[in-house]
């Protein structure tokens, strides 16, 4: 009977292999924002008290949108922060981000299911009476963000393009972004209300486990040679570092703009490795090749030129914005022109 057993074992192994194969991400998405659990009373727009507000110290630029954010953790669950650079969230975690100009325009929603993260965007009606699921291919909203330019509500592929590029699908919610040692020069930083989450509050409330002790005793802070450098590196971390990381899809580019908590001093920040390094892209109007960061010479620095462009071929980030962030361009231009002057690769 041994051969019968062997056959059974083989069949069983095949079945297990088939079951263990990741399932396609087909988790259904609610058709209305009201059904995602954000509000305890949608009519009065009362946010459920179990959904906790927060604000990253270095926000992503979104063409001047005012943003509000919340996280929901299933009761009794915790975030696994043993890897301080890539937290792992329990199944059932939800994130919401609301985009508003003169009115609410869009609310993005991420939910951690057993199949992985599910992405959805909800479009608010002009009178804010309801918010319904956007088409999977995205949709142009009625919100003008600049003359003749309207806010685009992203497709699911757009969401995945940024959120699945690096070491974690969750961007803007981590040790550096929630540090209580907030950067006063961070562009577009939002005021922090008393009930907003911070790293210390997460730990006190037992919502996070495995945090390295030194991160709690000494809140994360970007090491830089000047306050302007700190704000610049924080901006690059939040707006570029999701893709431009030493781990993940674009690691092969060798351009790391994500700030690692392991950086011990201003000289060991990976973004500074971009100084003097040739960029493959030929900037419009420029002769010859450019370099990513040219100390003392903002106009020859490809990173700045691409931030300052909204031509679809050159703009960075490549999606999610139609208006140049002039405040950030000014900040980083001065950092390259003054703070980096005399630096060498």
């Amino acid at each position: 009977m041994r051969w019968v057993k062997a056959l059974l074992v083989a069949v069983l192994a095949s079945a297990i292999a088939a079951v263990a194969k990741p399932a396609p991400r087909t988790h259904p998405r609610p058709t209305r924002l009201a059904d995602t659990g954000l509000y305890s009373d949608f009519a009065s727009r009362t946010v459920d008290s179990q959904n906790l507000p927060y604000s990253p110290q270095y926000p992503l630029w979104s063409d001047g949108a005012r943003k509000r954010r919340w996280i929901h953790l299933p009761p009794g669950s915790t975030i696994d922060a043993r890897n301080a650079e890539a937290w792992v969230f329990p199944v059932g975690t939800k994130f919401w981000k609301e985009f508003a100009w003169s009115r609410r325009v869009e609310t993005r929603f991420l939910e951690r299911t057993s199949d992985g993260w599910v992405y959805a965007a909800y479009v608010w009606a002009d009178d804010e009476s309801d918010a319904v699921l956007a088409p999977e291919a995205g949709i142009l909203s009625g919100q003008e963000v600049a003359p003749d330019k309207r806010h685009f509500i992203p497709s699911v592929k757009d969401c995945e393009s940024c959120h699945r590029a690096g070491r974690s699908e969750i961007l803007g919610f981590g040790a550096l972004q929630l540090s209580s040692d907030r950067d006063p020069l961070a562009p577009h930083a939002e005021p922090v209300a008393d009930d907003f989450l911070s790293l210390a509050k997460l730990a006190r409330r037992g919502l996070v486990r495995g945090l390295p002790p030194d991160i709690l005793s000494s809140p994360p802070r970007i090491a830089a040679s000047s306050p302007r450098g700190r704000a610049t590196l924080g901006y690059l971390h939040a707006n570029c570092g999701g893709c431009h990381d030493s781990i993940g899809s674009l690691a092969s580019l060798g351009l790391t703009l994500r700030y690692p908590l392991s950086a011990r001093d201003a000289l060991s920040v990976p973004a500074l490795a971009a100084i003097g390094r040739a960029s493959r892209i030929q900037l419009p109007g420029a002769k010859g090749t450019s370099v990513w960061l040219s100390p003392g010479d903002p106009s020859s620095s490809a990173i700045l030129a691409r931030m300052a462009s909204r031509n679809p071929v050159y703009q960075m980030p490549p999606l999610g914005s139609k208006v140049v962030d002039e405040e950030a361009v000014e900040l980083i231009s001065r950092w390259i022109g003054e703070d980096l002057k005399g630096s060498s690769p």
Partner: protein, 185 residues
């Protein structure tokens, strides 16, 4: 009884291993590359990525520039403006430059050249590009007439075979111009 069952079991095991070995031998170490070449040929990649040149019998692929994209030394004049009507696209004689409502696109250098081709791309970069329709999977949109929507339907193993083939062809140093695209509304 036990001995013949054991013999059958050993025989079956040997047969399975033997069949696998024969199959692997048949495929050979270059099987993936050959599969990739087959897919690239069938998929029409050469139609746009290998420039046409004029031969004795008319336009023919320039094999010396295999899959190296729009020739860097072929500077294109501005695309002709088409009158309103059903004509909407124009293409260069090489089939490597295309103009339409999106702007002007030049076909990419797919050879393994490190500075001007896919030499620094990883297999993951390539697969993600074809799946997402974005440069390196996360950058700017890949432009028409690249039929990435159809290619996105290929299996992972087929996309990896295509990449393996593209890594196997001669590197051609050819810096393709960036596309020319107007700012969208």
């Amino acid at each position: 009884m036990k001995s013949w069952r054991l013999a059958v079991c050993v025989g079956l095991f040997a047969a399975v291993i033997g069949m696998s070995t024969v199959a692997a031998d048949r495929k050979g170490p270059g099987a993936t590359v050959r599969r990739g070449e087959y897919l690239v040929t069938l998929g029409g990649c050469n139609d746009c990525h290998t420039p046409l040149k004029m031969g004795a019998n008319g336009p023919e692929p320039d094999r010396s520039r295999l899959l190296s994209g729009h020739p860097q030394d072929l500077a294109m004049p501005p695309a002709p403006k088409l009158p309103p009507g059903p004509w909407m696209y124009t293409a260069a004689a090489t089939m490597t430059a295309w103009a339409g409502p999106w702007g002007v696109s030049f076909t990419s250098n797919l050879t393994p050249d490190a500075e001007t081709g896919l030499g620094k791309w990883t297999e993951q970069n390539f697969v993600e590009s074809m799946r997402s329709g974005r440069h390196m999977g996360h950058g700017r949109s890949i432009l028409p007439p690249m039929p990435y929507e159809a290619i996105a339907k290929m299996t992972d193993s087929d996309l990896k075979a295509v990449f393996a083939y593209l890594r196997s062809i001669p590197a051609v140093t050819n810096r393709v111009p960036d596309p020319i695209v107007p700012e969208p509304k």
